[in-house]
């Protein structure tokens, strides 16, 4: 399927916060609590439409455990967007956000759009981090913020798409040089006329489709 742009996303955050579940909910529109834990990195992809333009999101779902940080850092390269995820029922996953952010700032390109997601908001009765705290952290660090639930799908679509919209706006505003792939953006056949053709024209993985 052709696309105007391809954006590389990376999902980061502590182990068990629901990174893989968010991805699966977004690409397959289902919640699967029993999937194998992520070793290294897994991939997902889906087409979305922003401003009537088909955009392919290629999403890297990383392992969360601290020991794998040195490997995870190599995945930041060339990411246009990042979803930084914590679990609203586990305080420590919120406390670790600063170190994740530091990694991202250090190893990703400076224009990467970061979306902070407080996952598992369906478990409000076990909440350990208030919405305001999440908002406050996002504000302090210049992130977009949403609470979401991979289980109920609440805000999942929105989180991925509003990140894409932000990146798209940055392109329109000329923040990115789209011919430079280190920004995590590839121009496809369905987009701006020009010599740079999209190499990666595989159909989106996992049954996702244009929305």
């Amino acid at each position: 399927m052709s696309y105007a742009y391809l954006f590389k996303y990376i999902i980061i955050g502590d182990t068990g916060v629901g990174k893989s579940c968010l991805l699966l909910q977004f690409t397959d529109k289902r919640f699967q609590p029993v999937h194998d834990l992520t070793i290294g990195v897994e991939f997902g992809a889906r087409m979305v439409t922003i401003d009537n333009k088909p955009i392919k999101l290629q999403i890297w779902d990383t392992a969360g455990q601290e020991s794998f940080r040195s490997i995870t850092r190599s995945y930041y390269r060339g990411a246009a967007g990042a979803l930084l995820v914590y679990d609203i029922t586990r305080r420590e996953t919120f406390n670790h956000l600063a170190s994740w952010l530091e990694d991202a700032r250090q190893h990703a390109n400076a224009n990467m759009t970061i979306m902070l997601i407080g996952n598992k908001c369906d478990l409000a009765h076990r909440r350990a981090v208030s919405t305001e705290e999440g908002e406050q952290f996002a504000k302090e660090h210049g992130l977009i913020f949403m609470e979401a639930s991979a289980k109920t799908a609440q805000n999942v679509e929105e989180a991925f798409i509003s990140t894409a919209a932000t990146i798209y706006k940055k392109i329109q505003d000329g923040v990115f040089d789209v011919s430079n792939e280190s920004y995590g953006i590839k121009v496809g056949y369905g987009g701006i006329p020009g010599p740079s053709g999209g190499r990666d024209v595989n159909a989106s993985q996992g049954g996702g489709c244009c929305s």
């Binding site: 590389k8 182990t15 068990g16 029993v34 999937h35 194998d36 834990l37 070793i39 290294g40 990195v41 897994e42 991939f43 392992a63 455990q65 601290e66 020991s67 794998f68 040195s70 490997i71 190599s74 995945y75 390269r77 060339g78 420590e92 990666d200």
Partner: protein, 659 residues
Amino acid sequence: MQETEIHDLSDDADYAASQQQGSVTLSRCNSSKRSSVSEPEGAEIVYLKDNVTIHPTQYGSERISGRLKLIKQGPSLLMTWIPYSGQSSNARLSESDRNLYTIRAVSFMDVRSIHRHTPTLGWQYIIVVLSSGLAFPPFYFYNGGVKELLATIKQHVSLVRSAEDANVFLVNDFQDRLQRTLSSLELPRAVAVATGPSSPISDGRPPSYENQERTEVGTFDGSASLIQHNDSQRQNFQDPARDISIQLLEKFSLVTRLARETTSQLFRDSNSDVFGANERRNHDQTSHPYPSIVASNDVEEVPNEIPIASDPLEFDKLTLVWGKPRQPPLGFKEWLTFFDSEGRIMDSKALRKRIFYGGVDHRLRKEVWPFLLGCHAYDSTCAEREYLVSVKKSEYETIKHQWQSISPEQAKRFTKFRERKGLIDKDVVRTDRSLSFYDEDDNPNVNLLRDILLTYSFYNFDLCYCQGMSDLLSPILFVMRDESESFWCFVALMERLGPNFNRDQNGMHSQLFALLKLVELLDSPLHNYFKQNDCLNYFFCFRWVLIQFKREFEFERTMRLWEVLWTRYISEHLHLYVCVAILKRYRRKIMGEQMDFDTLLKFINELSGHIDLDAILRDAEALCICAGENGAACIPPGTPPSLSIEDGLLYSQEDDEVL
């Protein structure tokens, strides 16, 4: 051709005459004494040299000496090399070995080049490369005569010294200048086989000339010790980095020997189409800067316009003739034959070899795995093992009790314990849940996974728990079906793989670095490609190494691979050769599609479930033997899964966040 094997037509004048019409074989023309004086009608010996020897293995006792001849027959020049028979010093060398390497006749029409090698010490040798890209094993000239050989060839066929390398002599000089240059570059593509397509393998039938050749034996025996001495000196003085492709060609003779059982079968069946196709490609691709003879078994065709550096150890279909064919798994009856009356395993090496080539029947794994993992000594008796199991069971219970006795009140004040337990709780329900053994809620086997991992984190407090361990434990529990025995098998496995989970990742980094060195040795174009594309961290192989390919194969296949790795039969680090083998299988796609790091990582991830284990194991075996000492030198001592070389602190951990 077949007829020559069935009837000895050597003295039949009509037969000899019939062979003159462009035929490639002269297999019986020199079969009688008079052959050294006068060949059958129209054939003339123009060169003869005794004690021309091949070295199929590193062992001096396994060398095969023979007589090399050039025969002029009509317009054709042919080369034969007939090994002497009856080398009595040489019990390991069978008649079929000699037959395998025999060159009954190869026409110089089929020879591309001759590579002369003159070591500082030791004998001169040559490697004959056929136009198909195949090469014969190196011929060592114990009595000299290389110069004379080349001079003789030059009298009869066109022989041109390569402009690129003064030691390469091009036999079939091409009209096309480009082709000419290429033919000298294509040395690395050569693959040695015992007998090329033009010299078919006899079905183990003794050649009829052996009586005549036997007179030479004395010379060989008399010089055996000297040979050994000289050879070691030669190796010492040779710069290992000097010409890796030449070295690899030498190694091929080793591989050839390894593959001898399969060679005759496979070459008979497949050489016509494989090599036929290769030759066609070579002719078709005159404008192609790197005509590659890869027989395509890749997933998809690669765009033509991208030049791909050819594989120094040309692979793909040719690989089939390298490693030994897989055997059926070790079964119960055969298993019993390994024991003495008290239950000791008498020949552990034979057992490990057997498992290396065939694996173990699943029903036997519970018995066999504790040996392979080192929980049981091979020379222990049944009674000793029974006792050990019971002692270890109570030891396990003691360690398990340490965390079981932590009360909820204690736990409330013990954050690190809670976090550790929480992490394990989360991970065991995310481990192999698609298997019926672990599926559904409140599965007792999932609880066993948790208990064993938590107990291990108390047994090995420094290493603790890390993601990936549950993947390693799951098949063990599935096989052992016993908590304590699974625990101790897991402990034994972690003795070797523990460093994979070090906080500083040094165990992983050392393995990935060794992998880099192996690829550099075994496929330098691929290495250069990775280098140019900033892929030398080999993180795309991270998952393979961390959990020993657990996510790359289906469950049963993983168990098969693991037991093969655990035999440590040809190398402790076979898993690294497995990595190289897989990368080489897909090298053409990787380079042809110009994959960058991201694309490569994704591609490798998606290979999961699509890798043919048996083929890869054979490739890995062949690569490991091919790489030999140079390969072993790529892997520093103590690289996992070797036991750590340091005493004392096995797992130097920084201050843990999660206990």
